[in-house]
Symmetry: C2
Subunit: 212 residues, 2 copies
DNA sequence: GTCTATAGGATGATAGAC
DNA sequence: GTCTATCATCCTATAGAC
């Protein structure tokens, strides 16, 4: 089962406000990653976090604010991993180190996908500006801190969007069935394909309470 | 205003079934492109098409079937353009011709974005399989018909996903304000940036009747 | 072929008890 | 800090007139 459900003990147990907040954000990241902003209900997030639906709203104000916090937290984590990869002492070329850090984020369920869902809602008056800001933040890191040129940075981001898309597509679901899928996945994940494959979940039969 | 609203004349005018169907599909492609599957309501599609909400449902059965038809139609158009680019007599290298065909599709409002919204819903039991099928259909075209190798094909698709993402982000909204945005867009769109910029719409102030 | 009216079911958010 | 109860809204889909 999900590692997310009420892992802190018996129902009714209280947590420090910060812990509970982080706990809900983690659960929300997974759900938003699966269904996107509009497809996610606060009730499903609540169930995933093991709290009541009104409590989720109480803590974050609105569903929109919750999503924006999920995006922000995802970006923070991503930038932290990138900076760690940059600081690392290693013979491995920098581009590969950052690339591996990116693929490693795929094991943080929902993180890359929540970002991706944000990226395709650029037209939304609240979400759009935040999504653009986050995306350009990564670009600036590549250009300024990592020292890539414009083309290198663009190619790196393109590879990232490709990875996000294939995760979103749940391409690994067809890995055993389709030789073309295997070939494409191997081309897109020079290393660390195992991380992706280990992530495969049993496909869900119905939308457990999410929107239609 | 949108070129989509009731362009066929006075209210109540009838059209041949096929025309009306295509008309609604076009409108639906735009709306789905903006808000995604869950974020789109049949009422908004209906308004964009200039018909009543129940009529949209009547013609397509369910919102889900409508979305699947939008995806299918988008893929058909895309493959048609790719095959046309392949058949073209020209000194321009094949990869560039297909790339240009792809960027050209961006002027078909909502087409690439509806596909993208489908791609990130791979977990959905109905949409997921169709999205994967469509994506792999493009890959197979590149490998088999266009004659690209696995790496070339993967890079081409990565560039495509990058373009889709930047369209989804409405990156062009910040073109005048942000030098980094300009640099990135120029790197990602070696040619045809003008097509993208011409597409820019006034950002919407509120979500006109779409979900929250 | 197309519309109006509306049923039936969620959903986000609030009030207020404990 | 967290829950239960509940409201108002909104959405898909159906019924049935024209």
């Amino acid at each position: 089962m999900s590692s997310m459900t009420n892992e802190s003990g018996a129902k009714g147990t209280r947590m420090r406000a910060e812990d509970r907040r982080e706990h809900i954000l983690k659960a929300a990241t997974e759900v938003f990653g699966d269904y996107g902003y509009f497809g996610t209900t606060t009730a499903v997030v609540a169930r995933a976090a093991g709290v009541s639906q009104p409590y989720v709203v109480r803590v974050f104000g609105t569903k929109e604010k919750l999503f924006l916090e999920v995006l922000q937290r995802a970006l923070d984590l991503l930038m932290r991993e990138f900076r760690a990869a940059l600081a690392e002492e290693s013979d491995v070329p920098l581009a590969d180190r950052i690339g591996l850090a990116y693929v490693g984020l795929a094991s943080n369920r929902g993180l890359l996908l929540s970002l991706m869902h944000g990226f395709v809602l650029g037209r939304d008056p609240e979400i759009g500006p935040e999504a653009r800001r986050g995306f350009m933040c990564v670009y600036r890191f590549l250009r300024t801190e990592a020292g890539f040129d414009a083309d290198e940075s663009e190619r790196f981001l393109a590879g990232g969007m490709m990875i996000n898309t294939m995760i979103g597509l749940r391409m690994t679901d067809d890995f055993d069935r389709d030789a073309d899928v295997r070939e494409l996945l191997r081309a897109a994940f020079p290393q660390k394909l195992d991380v992706l494959l280990a992530l495969a979940e049993p496909p869900i039969a119905e939308r457990n309470g999410a929107r239609s």
